[in-house]
Symmetry: C2
């Protein structure tokens, strides 16, 4: 059968499938059912009443639980609300409006601010930059992280380069893990801007799919050893550990940056939702509790990643390349004419993240990257969707043959 | 006995009492114990799964519950996190960095921005202005709201006046309620700045102490009737309804402002904590549920307000004046040499909000206002604290006699 008749049959099916966002499935959310009956006590470990105002930094017991998991000392962690994205957004707002440690002035007074964006990357990082007129420069991503020759050169030469977005473990969308050498170079590289910052979005710190978890070098410790701990902003959350909309988030950095962050946050809030923090401490208990919980996630979503890999291998061997992540939430599929493929899929009822979304300004110059989010649909639907996507890839290839 | 010997006896007692912040007491927080076992279902009224990402505006059922209580149509409400302060702060951040409807440019580009601050007022409003270099101009507060002759003149004549802070019902700290005429004039007054905004912090909308709740005219509706609904930003929260640290907050405004607010918030967050929203809907149920719940609060804190009034009357009749609010969280005490009184109290182990905190830049030119927060201590402690405070007032009066 030709791809054309396959595609006609696909459209005939009238599918309505969604692979756009990295959402946990209902069965994953069910794993955290116990949260609905927690906490059993509103008392924090220090005896304070978690129901009342206060404690801007967040409960010590929760910071201690996550300190080893996100590689930040508990005293240098701030616990936020339900979205680490808000912590990233607000860090940039704070930098725009209040000088950071080491900064000559507020970023809003800078003639130009540039962020390096390893590509493919996370669209919501890029959206924050676009909102504030921050210029984005794409940097190619290799199998061990961003191309460090490019990063080192730009950061050393251009004082307008104030930031770089990194998802260092099980990166969004490629799933790659930064090598020790990449992390070491990020910590050691000279920066022209005294207020250069690495936005270290460790969103998938504990989100392993295999029994051999990836190890990530400790950027904050390495930077501190180089005498520049201030260059690191660490972010993480439990959005994909417990409940996507009702988790807790973390900001971690050097003591000076944490002081700056809390000083600004003190104008914004009297304190975080500590009952939700207690809920999480009681539910997750400790590092072993988190690991056991994440294994249950892996049991549910591991087969989905395997299925995508199997279908793509069967259908697209030779026609496309894709990643086989050992953790995280995404698979990155590289095909010729990605935008046309996404459009064909959409017409057949299969919603994919818009082509280009993995690049700054929605512009994927090679028109190549498609982000696949396999976690939300159940296996049967996922199989339909990936088979359908493969038909679209073959059709577009045929049309361009 | 002289005040001096009374004060010596007071210091002798070695008290450690705190009247600084408007915190609910543990017994008030106990009223919301049922929240710890809610929600019983994670399904929103529209059938969506409240555990997952999404719904930036917040659940319709919660917006509908609070719409009549905060005088904003449900479609024009946005539900935020646990702090309405964050919504106010972030509104100003958005205005600084993204032009508002009607604004010629971003506020950060304005040569000067001025906010009118009715005094005495809420220190955390002033702190936000200070952070962003917004000039604050105090406006005297009368028994029916700010002196509208002054407000109208400044707003009409000075295009740098972009905002006014208002706590219109049971104001912080005086407890006064804006009259219909004040609200009507706020809605109708001409403004030199096209992007002038009234920050309507209706923090105590349902926080009545008596069985005859104060009525507040509907500023948003009156402004819309005048053709300028965009001038109103409404804020409220359940921080003093359910749990101080774990409530939900509300932003309400015109459709154009809500669109602007959500467009900015969309860059900051994927959505709010909808489980906590469901928890609140199930607990409070409807307007009658909120009213019944607030009556239970009034039963606990009403006697505290009465006690303060009784002690002050007995001890300070003729020496000082104070307000007798019918709702809210504060009593405003006017005495000569307030700063000295607060210092004496502190030396005797009675912590009060710093003198001047009720005024911009901490500067109370008449050195007169002391904010009393009677809700947190139990009655016996409160009686000790107010008796001690009265001794300090008498001592300072004697020293200046």
């Amino acid at each position: 059968m030709t791809a054309q008749s396959d595609y006609a049959a696909l459209v005939q099916q009238g599918l309505s499938l969604d692979l756009t966002r990295g959402k946990p499935s209902p069965r994953q959310l069910d794993l955290s059912d116990a949260l609905f009956r927690l906490p059993t006590s509103y008392r924090a470990a220090d005896g304070t009443d978690g129901r009342n105002y206060g404690n801007l930094q967040g409960l010590a017991e929760l910071r201690e639980l996550f300190a080893p998991l996100i590689q930040v000392p508990a005293g240098q962690i701030v616990v936020g609300g339900n979205a680490s994205l808000a912590l990233m957004h607000d860090t940039i707002v704070h930098a725009l409006l209040t000088p950071m440690p080491g900064a000559a002035r507020r970023w809003v007074e800078e003639p130009e601010i540039t962020f390096l964006c390893p590509v493919p990357g996370y669209d919501r990082h890029f959206t924050i930059c676009e909102r504030f007129g921050i210029k984005m420069v794409p940097v190619p991503m290799n199998a061990d992280g961003p191309d460090m020759d490019v990063v080192e050169r730009l950061v050393a030469e251009d004082a307008s380069v104030k930031g770089i977005w990194c998802v260092p473990k099980y990166s969004n969308p490629s799933g790659i893990v930064y090598s020790d050498e990449t992390v070491r170079r990020l910590a050691a590289m000279p920066a022209a801007a005294p207020d250069f910052r690495i936005f270290w979005d460790n969103a998938y710190a504990v989100h392993h799919l295999t029994d051999t978890p990836a190890e990530l070098a400790d950027l904050l410790a390495l930077s501190a050893a180089q005498g520049d701990a201030d260059r690191v902003f660490v972010y993480a959350s439990t959005s994909k550990v417990t409940l996507a909309g009702s988790g807790v988030s973390f900001f971690g950095s050097s003591p000076a940056n944490v002081e700056w962050f809390l000083r600004n946050t003190a104008k914004q809030s009297i304190g975080p939702d500590k009952i939700n923090q207690l809920r999480h401490v009681e539910f997750l208990r400790d590092g072993a509790g988190v690991a056991a919980h994440m294994r249950r996630h892996a049991e549910l979503i591991g087969p989905k990643f395997e299925l995508v890999d199997k279908v793509l291998t069967e259908q697209l061997g030779g026609l496309a390349t894709w990643t086989s992540p050992k953790g995280g939430y995404f698979i990155s599929l590289d095909v010729p004419h990605a935008a046309e493929v996404v459009a064909k899929a959409k017409a057949a009822g299969i919603a994919l993240t818009p082509a280009g979304a993995t690049h700054p300004y929605g512009d994927d110059p090679a028109d190549r990257t498609i982000r696949i989010a396999p976690t939300y649909p159940e296996l049967a639907e996922l199989e339909q969707a990936i088979n359908g996507l493969a038909v679209c890839v073959r059709l577009v290839a045929e049309e361009h043959a």
